[in-house]
């Protein structure tokens, strides 16, 4: 999934996109910025508008109310960019994956955007956890940027 050699390898600017999460992931993201984990080491910087962003950190299930706004935000990012889906909710909808008030996780959103907006999903890294620890987030980000060399081969699930 994450075959990226992006121009922003050395200076990924991140935009934090909460699509309806419970704050736990969001706070762990902020935590990653602070002295203990300090992701600015890698040139990462939290920016205020998706126009400046290279990496979108997406947390929470996509709720019905915020769906259209999330779509607008994803369309507002200059290419190339990557998405990090953080937390179980963003990965697959979490415990609210089939609630009336959500549309599930990021894959469901991508599917809808593909159909309605002809949107080709950017490279996406999924970081599960409830919430994932800051270390996990940094690990995922590093993988997305290709800073970390992968030692495991990529395998794709096939339905026989």
């Amino acid at each position: 999934m994450a075959r990226i050699n992006p121009p922003f390898k050395k200076s990924p600017w991140i935009f934090h996109l909460n699509t309806g999460g419970c704050n736990a992931c969001d706070i762990e993201i902020l935590d990653a910025l602070t002295p203990y984990h300090d992701v600015e080491r890698f040139g990462m910087k939290l920016v205020g508008t998706p126009r400046h962003a290279d990496v979108i950190l997406l947390t929470g299930p996509i709720t019905r109310e915020s769906k259209i706004k999330v779509i607008r935000t994803l369309l507002a990012v200059p290419r190339p960019f990557a998405v990090l889906a953080i937390g179980s909710c963003a990965v697959g909808g979490g415990i609210w994956f089939d609630s009336y008030a959500t549309i599930g996780g990021l894959p469901n959103l991508y599917e809808e955007m593909r159909h309605k907006y002809n949107f080709e999903p950017p490279p996406t890294i999924y970081i599960p956890g409830c919430p994932p620890r800051p270390e996990a987030i940094i690990f995922g980000a590093a993988q997305a940027l290709g800073i970390l060399k992968k030692k495991v081969k990529r395998e794709v699930y096939k339905e026989d």
Partner: protein, 558 residues
């Protein structure tokens, strides 16, 4: 319980002889059933004459019990217990008089009941949709028992935003609107504020929230058992989740009259206080960030990291601890950890005191002082909670007023400031951090020994109320137990729910630059506010299967 309420019962019986149907003791308070048409007068009397603090309201679909829709209005009789007013109307014509004109704080709660149950409130000043998306079909009410919670209706219209606070005052000529949110750096959650500005001054604000409405409340009402609910309650909010699971547990323990072992009570208090410390430190950091003071943000989060370490030490996880269940806690604190915890808390105290002195320099105070003013009377009318309330000079705290867990035995004071501006709310939080550190120390020193949980026998149709003082204010849970180990009705009210309407008072006349910090000064936690989890019916798990399949397809497709 009824003994404590005896004078109130007597007074009400004298005045509202014809209105009151009956009194009933419930877990944590007293339920007074009144005739629907008398509701506003009784509520007004309770609120204005008896000076009870309004807590929340809740609708309920009781058609399967007695064929009626009911509304519960909860007031807090400080030091005694909760006072619940109940009125029910036949399902054929669900119309109940609104109490919003008498108790302004009830505005949102009534509108929510309107959305979720389809109950019409007569004479409501703003009968608009609050919780559900605007494209949601008009006649569909998710919390009714006949609503299939995984049903996703197609849009009835193009998505637009209807804003829920939109009373513009005068002087709006050539004023300009400025959207703040849903994805604004000042907010870490999707919420929409629409500021009306003139030059650099905010003259009014509109609000559209409930972007984080994931639909929570039905899980306990349908399929999750009593013991499973605390875990989802904890995911209402990632910051003050433990207060939610605790107050749920308290409510159910009160409803079913369970005696919780003392050690469990102490452990709960301990974790609640640790949660408060980390949440307030988080707030201090965010406030610094909003004031552009990055160093303050970094330093307070650096200190907070010790607290996270402490939480991990005591519960096994950094947040969403998962140790609460009705009847006690799941995980004991081992003796060797207590010494380490003492060391960490000492470190936090020392470092925080240094930070506090560096933070409260004149330049920061100037940015906070006399900004975002909330008068005491308005605070009571809108029933704001937590530091927002205490910053406006109202000395209330659930830990003192409706003691729960181990707070009856602990020695602490309530931080109150009278000015009602951003500075006083900041000072309240700073004082509370130190007070909580003090409480943590007391608990670590006097942790009683003994068992940590007790078994219980569930009984249906008992009502219980539980409240816990979360970092942002009183978290309130109302529940009605049901059959098959499940809840019949579960109502969750987070403090931010009551605090947001106060923003329209606080934001008026504030410079634009101070709008974010003023919004932040109530420490809004929208995920709590927007909660309403509706969890899937386990009998119909086909949705789950398709959903998983699509996920697999997605992975395969890549």
């Amino acid at each position: 319980m009824e003994a404590k309420f005896s004078s109130i019962i007597e007074e009400l019986e004298n005045i509202f002889k014809n209105c009151i149907i009956g009194f009933k003791e419930i877990g944590g308070g007293l339920l007074t059933e009144v005739k629907a048409e008398c509701l506003p007068e009784v509520a007004s009397y309770v609120f204005n004459n008896l000076r009870m603090y309004y807590s929340t309201s809740s609708g309920s679909d009781e058609r399967s019990i007695d064929g009626k829709f009911a509304v519960y209005h909860v007031f807090s009789a400080d030091g005694i217990g909760f006072f619940v007013l109940k009125a029910s109307v036949p399902a054929t014509k669900p119309c109940i008089p609104s109490i919003t004109s008498k108790v302004p704080g009830a505005n949102w709660a009534e509108r929510e009941a309107m959305d979720m149950f389809g109950i019409t409130f007569i004479n409501h000043p703003e009968p608009k949709r609050l919780v559900l998306p605007d494209d949601w079909p008009k006649n569909l009410h998710p919390l009714r028992k006949d609503f299939e919670y995984s049903y996703r209706p197609s849009s009835s219209s193009e998505p637009t935003i209807s804003t829920s606070i939109d009373i513009y005052v005068g002087g709006t000529e050539y004023a300009s609107t400025l959207p703040l949110g849903p994805y604004h750096p000042a907010l870490h959650e999707p919420e929409y504020f629409e500021l009306l500005i003139k030059g650099e001054e905010v003259i009014d604000v509109k609000y559209r929230g409930f972007h984080v409405h994931r639909g929570i409340e039905k899980i306990g009402e349908s399929k999750l058992t009593y013991n499973q609910v605390p875990f989802i309650a904890e995911r209402i909010c990632g910051i003050c989740g433990f207060a939610h699971s605790s107050s749920y547990c308290i409510a159910i323990e009160r409803a079913l009259k369970i005696d919780v072992p003392e050690r469990a009570q102490y452990i709960r208090s301990l974790i609640l206080e640790i949660e408060r410390i980390h949440s307030h430190l988080l707030w201090v950091g965010v406030a610094c960030h909003l004031l552009g003071f990055e160093t303050g943000f970094m330093q307070s989060w650096r200190i907070r990291e010790h607290v996270m370490e402490l939480a991990e030490l005591l519960t096994g996880s950094r947040k969403t601890y998962g140790i609460n269940i009705p009847g006690g806690v799941r995980r004991d604190i081992l003796e060797p950890y207590i010494d380490r915890a003492k060391k960490v808390i000492k470190l936090v105290e020392d470092e925080f005191k240094v930070l506090r002195d560096k933070l409260l320099v004149p330049e920061v105070k100037v940015r906070l002082k006399e900004i975002g003013y909330l008068p005491k009377e308005d605070a009571r009318k809108l029933a704001v909670l937590g530091p927002t309330m205490r910053g406006s000079g109202i000395a209330r705290d659930v830990r003192k007023d409706q003691p729960y867990c181990a707070y009856r035995d602990l020695d602490f004071r309530i931080a109150v400031y009278d000015e009602g501006d951003n500075l006083s709310r900041t000072l309240v939080r700073i004082d509370e951090i130190l007070e909580s550190i003090n409480i943590v120390k007391q608990i670590l020193d006097n942790l009683p020994s003994g068992p940590i949980r007790t078994e219980f026998e569930p009984k249906p149709y008992r009502i219980g109320v539980g409240a816990a003082e979360a970092p942002r204010g009183e978290v309130f849970h109302l529940l009605i137990t049901g059959e098959r180990n499940r809840l019949y009705r579960w109502r969750v009210r987070a403090p931010t729910y009551n605090n947001i309407p106060a923003l329209k008072i606080m934001l008026r006349g504030v410079p634009l630059a101070d709008a974010p910090i003023t919004i932040a000064s109530i420490d809004p936690c929208f995920s709590c506010t927007d909660r309403c989890i509706l969890i899937k019916d386990l009998d119909h798990n086909y949705v789950k299967r398709t959903s998983l399949l699509s996920f697999r397809k997605f992975i395969k497709g890549d």
